[in-house]
Amino acid sequence: MQDTTFQQIAALAHHHSGQDLSPAKPYLIEARLAAISRRESFASLDDLAHCLTSRPNKRFEAEIASALTPKQTQFFADRDQLERIVTHALPEMLKASNTGRLRVWCAGVSTGQEAYSLAMRLSELEGSPLCQADIELVATDLSAKSVAEAQAGLYSHFEIQKGLSVHRMLANFERQVSGDWLICESLRSRVTFRQHNLLTPPGPLGQFDLIICRNVLPTMARDKQIEAVAHLNAQLSPKGQLFVATGESLTGLSEDLEPSRSVRGAWCHSQTLKETAAA
């Protein structure tokens, strides 16, 4: 891959998904674009880059940008955080709510394992106030292909065995003739999947009490991180909480968000924290 090709693809990724591609890892770009390159019969990525210049196509550019994003995910990727959400954050929010309704947004969920893990954990609750609550789960990803796979709820032999106990696998999935495992209808219908780019204002999605956005922001360039956090912040209800992955920080990305004092890993509106402290 020529330097000019790398620069062209990196600029495209930065523009469409905010991703910060490293020149030290050209093999990642080659691996992630291999399927598209084969399908379009390009002899090399240099040919692909030439095509992008000579025949600009916004849809093709978006497909390339989404193919370049990392797809690594697994069921119950952070069990401790999920438990904090289910046993602490959501019940507290429900207590403060006068409607009995909560809205949760899992942003950047790739093929859906994270959103289904939350749905699974909620379905296991017994005796929790959350059992009676109306909890809407919305999950989004940049990639239309990933969203379609998430909606299908079909997981390979390898995907189903990562993060999921055998008991949960048997309770929530059905083995198909193909050898893949299909999530049960009650969980599949519990989550609404939509294609969405974190760099575009998510206005139509509405306000959320809880947003989970794990391992997405670190792949972005700083200017795009700030943009994406501004959009997440705008969708967070006044008393809402935003969860990022353990080890991620929003420090310096938004003046309006501060770490929660009561729930580890959660970020809340600064104004709400001040009001809570004053009360």
């Binding site: 390898f158 065995q161 990562k162 055998v166 050898g179």
Partner: protein, 121 residues
């Protein structure tokens, strides 16, 4: 250091699984069938057993049933690691006393994930 006994009639599987489990910080011993695995357990009970189902002399389920009835045999964490993928078979293994289940083929991430869920790593 915790000890893992790998029971499989395939030397290749024992070698591959052994490398993965050693990388997770376990000492490893091997047995090629259920009967020799029982002897090993009688001599020294391992912390974890990675157990194949279909083996000559004594299969994995027969071994597991005998193990769980033996003195101290309830203690080891047993993870079935087998080509059997039918949910009925998986249920049979759990009823016999398996704690977790790995369907072959497997990779290091799957073993790590299962051991992590069991609190072993």
């Amino acid at each position: 250091m915790k000890h893992c006994l790998i029971v499989d009639d395939s030397r290749v599987v024992r070698t591959v699984a052994g490398r993965i489990v050693k990388d997770l910080g376990f000492t490893v011993s091997e047995a090629g069938d259920g009967a020799s695995a029982l002897q090993r357990c009688q001599a020294q009970m391992p912390d974890v057993i990675l157990l194949d189902w279909n083996m000559p002399i004594m299969n994995g389920i027969d071994f597991l049933t005998s193990l769980r009835r033996s003195d101290g045999g309830k203690a080891p964490v047993v993870v079935l690691c087998t080509n059997e993928k039918d949910p009925d078979h998986i249920g049979e293994a759990l009823r016999a006393g398996a704690d977790e289940y790995i369907m072959k083929p497997f990779d290091a991430d799957i073993v790590r994930s299962k051991f992590d869920q069991l609190g072993l790593v």
